[in-house]
Amino acid sequence: MLIYGFLGIPYDFRWSVLWESPHGTWILDGLLTTLQVSAFSWVFAVLLGIFFGALRTVPYRPFRAVATVYVEFFRNVPLLVWLFFWYFGAPEVFPETIRQWFIRHGMEFWSAVAGISVYHGARMSEVIRTGIQAIPKTQIEAGVSSGLSVGQTYRLIIIPIALRLIVPPATNESLNLLKNSSLAMTIGVAELTFATRQIETYTAKAFEAFSAGTLIYLVLCLSIASIMNRIERKFAIPGLIARAERAEH
């Protein structure tokens, strides 16, 4: 049906290029690489985010300053620049033997993970900070006065509550992270966007290849959003996060 809409234009749609050998394998490999880059980066970004997000709220000024410098520095430089930095810049400071070892062990992949984690870690820590700041200060005071140290209060009370408050903005960040992983292509990582471009360059079927890419990202993002939605519902703290149960559907 769609094909008929294109009659009369100088372009000939052939969707089969997407699964013809070896193109189908490229898409699958690309998808797998995208998932790997995103998964590693996500774990590191969340850990960095929790650490620096908490640090930005602690009652010690020097700690807060360190965390602020991290966040402002890393989130305000474009991700593309960070990828170039971690691939072309950072490895150059290591001694030659270590550098060679990196080069032989998937340097492109890990440079991409480093770049994405650190950038999204900075953004994630802002999300977590707002979560922590949404908790009344009296909670910390209550924790400390009941005999816990500040560290324990954060670990046992504040962060667990904050994490449950920030699911919606964290979903946002996670989706951004997944889509930003396509920039890894610029430093030679053969991820999903790379694979669709690869098909385009081999077959000159640009519209088919890019539509496939678009659709796969869309499906990935919608699945993540629905998983996060379920998590949000499961862990919502009654009274702390208002849910519009009925209005949504």
């Binding site: 769609l2 809409g5 294109f6 009369g8 234009i9 100088p10 372009y11 000939d12 170039f84 691939y87 072309f88 150059e92 550098r99 080069i103 340097m107 492109e108 292509m185 610029t186 430093i187 030679g188 053969a190 790379f194 471009r197 690869q198 385009e200 360059t201 081999y202 077959t203 000159a204 079927k205 640009a206 519209f207 890019f210 539509s211 678009t214 659709l215 869309l218 919608l222 629905s226 559907h249």
Partner: protein, 285 residues
């Protein structure tokens, strides 16, 4: 159920973008109507199309496009504006099909697969893939690349050739030439492969040209052509006549000398065979 419905709605919405019907107005009519001739080209492929130290967008392919421009003006009998637009391998065919540009003049190899979607002019340059290495590298040609990290540019015909015929090499594919060259200069790659003439271009543009060597026999054949929208033979004729008249009248060779002559930045003498081949494409008046 509702969610599936929303999803399907989204998909339809997205696909409808692909369905925006492109006006199939003949190129010459479009140029006459708008008064602009738009050419898609590269900005980092010396000496074919690049931005020079004076910040001007110049090159061999761009000068050939200017020959075409003159012929269009002659044919339409009015003055037409000449405009350049950046087009990388991934975007050049969509740019053509969507009428954003009228001609691709860069370093596009004419291939059978590409001819299914666009039309090509006469071949205006012929080259083949070689390797760029640091002087003294053990890589001397396509036989020495097993287990080596070889950089390529995505979308090039040589990348495809290596992937299918020499799978023992570790391919690292970059979307553009400058980042691949940086990786090579830092020792992250053992060699960088591309069309020989482009490697010469890189070598001469490098801070120390003597550090670099272009090695190996051609392992692919890459005839460059100007690309146009498919099934527009009137326009293609104007383009081809411009090239033929350039070859016949000597303009082509003046342009060649400007970019590849002994005094140019990338000296690359035109071999006898290539010259004969170019001239034999010129059909009688």
């Amino acid at each position: 159920m509702k969610r599936i419905g929303i999803f399907l709605l989204l998909v339809t919405f997205l696909l409808s973008f692909a369905g925006i019907s492109f006006a199939s107005e003949p190129t010459l009519e479009k140029i006459k109507r708008t008064g602009v001739f738009t050419v898609g080209t590269r900005s980092g492929s010396p000496p074919f199309a690049y931005i020079n130290k004076q910040n001007e967008w110049v090159g061999f392919s761009i000068d050939l496009a200017r020959l075409v421009h003159k012929n269009i003006e002659k044919k339409l009998g009015k003055s037409i504006k000449f405009e350049l637009k950046e087009s990388i391998p991934a975007t050049r065919i969509p740019l053509l099909t969507s009428m954003a540009v009228d001609l691709i003049a860069g370093t596009m190899t004419d291939t059978r697969a590409r001819r299914e979607n666009v039309d090509f002019s006469l071949t205006f340059f012929a080259t083949g893939a070689q390797f760029l290495v640091k002087k003294g590298s053990p890589i001397k040609g396509v036989k020495d690349i097993a287990g080596k990290r070889i950089g390529t540019q995505q979308g090039s015909t040589n990348e495809r050739e290596l992937r299918t015929r020499y799978p023992q090499a570790v391919l690292v594919v970059f979307p553009d030439q400058p980042s691949a060259f940086t990786a090579l200069a830092q020792g992250k790659l053992d060699a960088y492969t591309n069309d020989g003439i482009q490697l010469w271009g890189l070598k001469y543009k490098a801070p120390n040209p003597d550090e670099w060597e272009v090695v190996g026999e051609f392992y692919t054949y890459d005839p460059y052509g100007l690309a146009m929208r498919k099934n527009d033979s009137d326009f293609r004729h104007v383009v081809n006549v411009a090239l033929m008249e350039g070859l016949e009248g000597g303009d082509y060779f003046n342009i060649y000398n400007k970019w590849f002559g002994p005094k140019s930045e990338v000296p690359y003498p035109l071999s006898h065979d290539v010259k004969t081949f170019l001239m034999m494409q010129v059909v009688p008046k």
